[in-house]
Symmetry: C2
Subunit: 343 residues, 2 copies
DNA sequence: ATAATTAATGAAAACGTTTACACAAGAGGC
DNA sequence: GCCTCTTGTGTAAACGTTTTCATTAATTAT
């Protein structure tokens, strides 16, 4: 007994109509008479017909797929953004295909080619870099791409981000207000625009308090717990003029700093204050609960998908980037990892 | 200037050959003469041709898509499994489409329908439940589906899991060996087979030590930190005969227990020992570092995809579940959240 | 009554591929 | 010189849809 999947032709035959009528009964019911509509319905039930989406998409010249490029799907930071995107996409009848690029330009290029090969209708970039095939798009043609999380300088595609400079400023300001002056900054990777923006905010806050930024207090990590640990170990070694506070560019690195501080017998926040970035779920339940900059991750995803859907709707119209980039607000969440500067 | 994407026909014309030859030059190079192969190559370069994957897939009657059903993509537990799957899949030329079911049977059914509608060639289930459309597959027809993480009783599809009973046994045994006898168990949701298996392992360990399991020491959570907190609050309230140790069915709940214990001024492990499950990345860096059962998540994913690929290869052959289920070994990682029972 | 409109349907083209089949030309064996 | 093989290529059918266009029947307007 061979499994034969029913096609539209089987349905047509069973209902005694043409395949065109079956198709219309499904997609433009108002244009087909009630009696035949019923016949088609029973035929569909009888044959167990399910439309072949691939054939449909080929005809319609769309894939129904939105490609999402993320640097690392394992990072919980991205999963909530993803969730916001997924929800908006599926409401609009799209599926979200996740491309885990692992920060490799090669993989980015491979995925970006999906746009050309009709495997995806549009793309959202969370990776902060324009894939090669996209970079040399002919002038005047705007690809269906939205950038989220990290702005890409010199690229005027629709973008939704947070104000990293401002967020870093307020985090640093919080530490200054607590009386700290030796404030270290554990930054992200150098290649990252995030890093530049946050360092700038950190610097501005110090400057406004009349403090000259000390380059030896800026350390470069990679957002991971481990990089936070090693940064803190290095910075806290010299017990004489060690920093009394850390502003970290991710919650992971902040946790790393706390781990290292405890290792050295330092209490947080009594001896050392620590501010993170992102407000991952665990931040509230770490010991001590983390003071951090909350990124509205779900909102970020929602905004990104809605920008993209708008772009896909206007078939030929200029997708006016009226206010580009879209900026979603952050919030400094003060918990118990920060306290007054020790005497 | 209208953007016109080159088709195989454009290439054929440009090279002065038929479209059949172009197709062959691409997929069966040995069968076409060297000179035309070169002509085709230059034509491709000149036109900027990229094959339309959708058309190709329609013709070949495949989608190149593997559907992965997960209950919650936001859970970091799944992301490493995903990573293992993704790697194997992309090596075999497949893409992985993630279906976040949010534990809703409706969404599971919607996604499972992708198999019928040719949007996916195969499916991997991490959600521990057979989607409705799959449940009534005609006898004798084995759908291209692999189950991972949670076995589904009465379902003999290829499965790859850990031995939950045994893992729970060894975790509980570890606590017994430390002298604990009032050992609480924070279990997972009742609907979950995991829960049953782990409770059984917990019970067996107690029984082997001649301890009768006390039903009031078994609490039901949902794997979240929050549920761990409320379970521990309830169990630790009665300071008289409170448990001295907790075996938790997830690291999240274990962290919750620790949060609650600290809240009450109890020290871990001095006053209370805690064992988790999963060994998520943070477990090693929590305070204290968590004793936990390590699940080889990447291996789990790799095994699942390799089972699936094997199934997809043998076109009609019986995918002999020679050893079904495949069991990947777990490991008890002893860190500092467990210690001897207080006097 | 007849012309003009509307409503419902079917035939066939199209989407961009892959591949079964047919065919032509050249190579080799007798 | 003829038959057979091999090699390379083209023609056309198929994959399962949607949609344009034409056709018929039924309704309305004149």
């Amino acid at each position: 007994m061979i499994e034969k999947i029913a096609t539209i032709e089987d349905v047509a035959e069973h209902a005694g109509v043409s395949i065109a009528t079956v198709s219309r009964a499904l997609h433009k019911p108002h244009v087909v008479s009630e009696s035949t509509r019923e016949k088609v319905q029973t035929a569909i039930a009888a044959t167990g017909y399910t439309a072949n989406v691939m054939a449909r998409n080929l005809r319609l010249n769309r894939s129904g797929m939105i490609l999402l490029l993320v640097p690392d799907i394992g990072n919980p930071f991205f999963s909530e953004i993803l969730s916001g995107i997924e929800q908006g996409a599926s409401k609009a009848g799209y599926n979200v295909l996740i491309g885990d690029t692992q920060n490799e330009p090669e993989r980015e290029a491979t995925y970006a080619a999906y746009l050309r090969s009709n495997q995806a209708d549009a793309m959202i970039l969370l990776n902060g870099r324009l894939p090669a095939p996209l970079a040399n798009t002919p002038r005047g043609i705007i690809p269906p791409v939205v950038i989220a999380c990290e702005r890409i300088p010199g690229c005027n595609l629709p973008t939704v981000i947070i104000d990293n400079e401002k967020a870093a400023f307020s985090a640093t300001k919080h530490l200054l207000d607590l009386g700290h002056s030796r404030i270290a900054h554990i930054a992200g990777p150098a290649s990252n625009i995030l890093t530049t923006d946050r360092v700038a905010g950190y610097r501005r806050a110090l400057a406004e308090s009349g403090i000259e930024a000390n380059p030896s207090l800026i350390y470069r990590g990679d957002f991971s717990i481990e990089s936070g640990i090693s940064a803190a170990r290095a910075l806290l070694k010299d017990s004489k003029n060690r920093p009394t506070a850390f502003f970290c560019s991710s919650d992971g690195m902040a946790i790393g700093v706390i781990v290292a501080a405890k290792e050295l017998g330092l209490r947080v926040p009594h001896d050392v204050s620590v501010v993170g970035f992102d407000d991952i779920h665990l931040a509230a339940n770490y010991d001590p609960p983390l003071t951090t900059v909350r990124q509205p991750r779900r909102r970020l995803g929602e905004q990104a998908i809605s920008l993209l859907l708008a772009r896909l709707d206007k078939t030929g119209a200029i997708p006016g980037p009226a206010e580009n980039p879209v900026i979603v607000p952050t919030e400094l969440i003060i918990r118990q990892s920060t306290g007054p500067c020790p005497a």
